[in-house]
């Protein structure tokens, strides 16, 4: 059951492929509050309703939600549907959730966005600026005409853009930006998976601590898979992790510094198998037999949970 009913109140074309929507409550109920970094899940109508997550760009406390959506012609259809919406159309949504919150322990925030990843990062930048908290912002893209919110982003005090035009030497200078890790600086990254991986790897090499690093995979994973995030509790390790919509349980464990066993990462081999203690598995592997599944086996590399919590024996 959707928890919200929203109505399209304003539509702006920001770039040839990116459209901004302002959504207001379709009934008299006030919109639920959210914090910077949160996302909104829209129900995409079709034979089988699926959900697509979009970062909230506006400041908390307004009576509307602002999202910006890039049309992915090769995607599963969510973005094409958003782009087909007209003023006054009604959409169902889940209340905002936040897997990418701002830490309240930072002295300084280093924000890095690439492509449509600017939506989450800009939401943070606006909030930090409103609170007068120090931050710097880096916004990378290939072509200025395809970069939403570019002008607004560059208007902040410590902001710069990295527009490569396809040239290697003009790309985000990660090593320079991250060169001096300081204990109070927290890093926030949002963009395509490859960019996030590359920035995270550099940061770790340069001595950044894991609790200073925050990231959200964007578009590709978020929008195309339509998967929900869930919480995974690892009984033997004694840790609980958030699995984002575009992440696997295995990747989440690796990112958390655990050392799980795995091989193929595509659900073939069965090396990463764990036992489900609680929760409902959504099996995506082609390795396990029905008997294996019935006995609780679960491939952490591809399979997910249809419950909000999954408890594994790892």
């Amino acid at each position: 059951m959707p928890s919200l009913s929203l109505k399209v109140w304003q539509i702006d074309r920001l770039t040839p492929r990116i459209t901004r929507l302002l959504l207001v409550s379709a009934d008299t109920r006030p919109l639920p509050a959210f914090t910077p970094g949160a996302h909104l899940e829209l129900h995409v109508p079709g034979d089988k309703t699926c959900k697509r997550a979009y970062s909230l760009v506006n400041l908390p406390g307004a009576d509307y939600y602002e999202i910006a959506v890039q049309r992915e012609d090769d995607g599963s259809g969510g973005s094409r549907w958003v782009h087909s919406l007209a003023l006054g159309d009604c959409v169902d949504a889940e209340a905002p959730r936040n897997h990418f919150p701002l830490s309240d322990k930072a002295d300084h925030y280093l924000l890095i966005a690439a492509g449509i990843g600017i939506t989450a990062i800009l939401g943070m930048a606006r909030a930090l600026a409103a609170r007068d908290q120090p931050f710097s912002l880096h916004y990378a893209g290939r072509d200025a005409s395809h970069m939403a919110y570019l002008e607004e982003s560059l208007a902040f005090a410590n902001a710069r853009s990295w527009i490569s035009g396809g040239q290697l030497e003009k790309r985000l200078a990660v090593a320079n930006i991250l060169a001096v890790p300081a204990p109070g600086v927290h890093l926030y990254i949002c963009g395509p998976a490859a960019m996030i991986t590359s920035v995270l790897n550099s940061a770790r090499e340069l001595g950044w601590k894991d609790d200073q690093l925050h990231y959200e995979l964007f578009a590709g994973a978020l929008e195309q898979s339509g998967d929900q995030g869930f919480e995974v509790q690892l009984r033997d390790s004694g840790v609980t992790l958030q699995v984002g919509p575009g992440q696997s349980v295995l990747d989440t464990m690796i990112d958390a510094g655990l050392d799980p066993m795995f091989d193929c990462r595509r659900g073939d081999c069965g090396v990463c198998v764990a036992q489900v203690i609680e929760g409902t598995a959504d099996h995506r592997d082609i390795c396990l037999s029905e008997r294996d599944r019935a006995s609780g086996s679960f491939c952490t590399c591809v399979s997910r949970a249809s419950s909000s919590l999954l408890v594994l024996d790892l």
Binding site: D263, D268, C269, G270, V271, C287, L288, S289
Partner: protein, 443 residues
């Protein structure tokens, strides 16, 4: 036709052996079952598999095995075979297999203790007897594995004496090798040499304590060392160790040969221990051990001046110069020898340098010394293939050895006691008297 115990026993006389023990492929096959299928065999040193997943492949007789460090730090010895189609899971050599073995054929996977981990597309096993918990679907472990001060031995028999009981008195050679480190630990370092010999494996064991061959077989290398020393006006370490083989017969006669049950033994060193303390390297080593153990114990450790030790079936440690020549039978007329050199952890670098020099000058394929031996081994193999005679002599000082509770000791250093002792053990293994005794015990 498998020979009867009586036929096998008849090949071994007190003073001679029948040449077929070196040339008969049927006997070789029986050796693989009855000796290598039961005895404790050196697999490798744990330093060859430092981290979880590191492996070292080798052979126990005719069996391909892999020594691997498990996730819990324990060293496992497994047959190198996938239970699916039988493929060897890892290629020969050393490496890391990660957290598990994966067969290159169909991606069946196994934990580092050999237990079945997974296989793809398991729905194909529904309704079959496939059972991941059943041993038929796991890699098999060699029946028993023991680690003595880092030296990993395995026995393919589930019952029998433990490693210490099997090694008897030669365990003190392993102790002495380790004690030469101030922290009591050694590690294989500097790579290994491998030499394929065109001869039966037993010839090498016999030669290790054959004092009568040194000044004859090695005459050319002794002469080369002496003329070089004369030309340069000194006898550096490299030449000294070549020169050692040239001692006159009365020197060898005074040495002591010690024989233990199961074919093991050692001989006293041919190098003067006092001389070893005069040089700079030995002095530095002595100082280092004195600090760790105190002077009296340091003197005792460095004063135990053994030349080759024989661990029958495994090979020959050399404690003074920190080598282990691992002897692997390949076929009735082929033997692979792997020469490992050890670093004594915490000892001066020069001690390891000297061990490497010894490996290079005496034991390596390109040394001036070992090729002399390899040549005569091959001649023995080929000569014994002729119809020119049936028996091999080991008459020297027969009947004069002094029996001891755990073996025997020679009264003359040129005695062929070591050969007689090795063949006594050979006969015991091969006539299955040992096996029969163990079976009774197990029952």
């Amino acid at each position: 036709m498998i020979p009867t115990n009586e036929q096998i026993a008849a090949l071994i006389r007190e003073d001679s052996v029948h040449k077929s023990v070196y040339t008969d492929p049927t006997l070789f096959q029986l050796e693989m079952e009855r000796i290598y299928g039961h005895a404790w065999i050196y697999v490798g040193h744990e330093s060859q598999v430092k981290n979880a997943g590191d492996y070292h492949t080798t052979r126990i007789g005719d069996q391909d095995v892999v020594m691997v460090r498990g996730a819990n730090g324990q060293v496992n010895v497994l047959y190198n075979r996938c239970p699916h189609k039988g493929a060897k899971l890892v290629a020969d050599g050393d490496g890391s297999t990660g957290k598990f073995f994966r067969c290159p054929y169909h991606a069946w996977t196994f934990k580092l203790d050999g237990k079945h981990l997974s296989a793809p597309l398991k729905s194909g096993f529904e309704g079959t007897c496939y059972d991941p918990a059943h041993p038929d679907f796991s890699m098999a472990s060699v029946a028993r594995v023991e680690n003595y001060r880092g030296f990993v031995f395995a026995s393919q028999a589930a019952y029998g004496p433990d490693l210490k009981g099997f090694l008897g008195g030669v365990i003190t050679s392993i102790d002495n090798l380790c004690d030469r480190s101030p922290i009591g630990e050694v590690e294989v370092a500097g790579g290994v040499f491998r030499v394929q010999q065109r001869s039966n494996w037993k010839v090498f064991y016999e030669n290790l304590h054959d004092t009568m061959h040194a000044r004859v077989t090695h005459e050319s290398s002794v002469e080369a060392a002496r003329s070089e020393a004369e030309a340069i006006g000194e006898m550096p370490f490299e030449l000294l160790i070549m020169d050692g083989n040239g001692e006159p017969y009365d020197f060898w006669e005074k040495l002591e040969l010690r024989a233990y049950h199961n074919g093991h033994g050692y001989m006293e060193a041919i190098f003067d221990p006092a001389a070893a303390e005069r040089d700079e390297v030995s002095r530095a080593h002595f100082d280092c051990l004195s600090q760790a153990y105190g002077e009296p114990r340091a003197r005792a450790i460095l004063g135990m001046n053994r030349h080759n030790t024989v661990i029958y079936g495994s090979g020959s440690p050399h404690t003074v110069f920190m080598q282990f020549r691992v002897i692997r039978p390949v076929s009735v007329d082929r033997t692979m020898v792997e020469i490992q050199t050890f670093r004594c952890k915490g000892a001066p670098d020069a001690v390891f340098d000297r061990a490497l020099t010894y490996a290079n000058v005496i034991n390596s394929p390109s040394s001036n010394v070992m090729p002399d031996d390899v040549e005569v081994y091959a001649r023995c193999q080929e000569g014994n293939m002729t119809r020119g005679g049936e028996w091999i002599s080991m008459h020297r000082y027969v009947g004069t050895d002094t029996p001891l509770e755990d073996g025997a000791v020679s009264t003359n250093g040129t005695s062929e006691l070591p050969m007689r002792n090795q063949f006594a053990a050979w006969k015991q293994f091969m006539t299955a008297t040992l096996i029969a005794k163990e079976s009774t015990h197990a029952a």
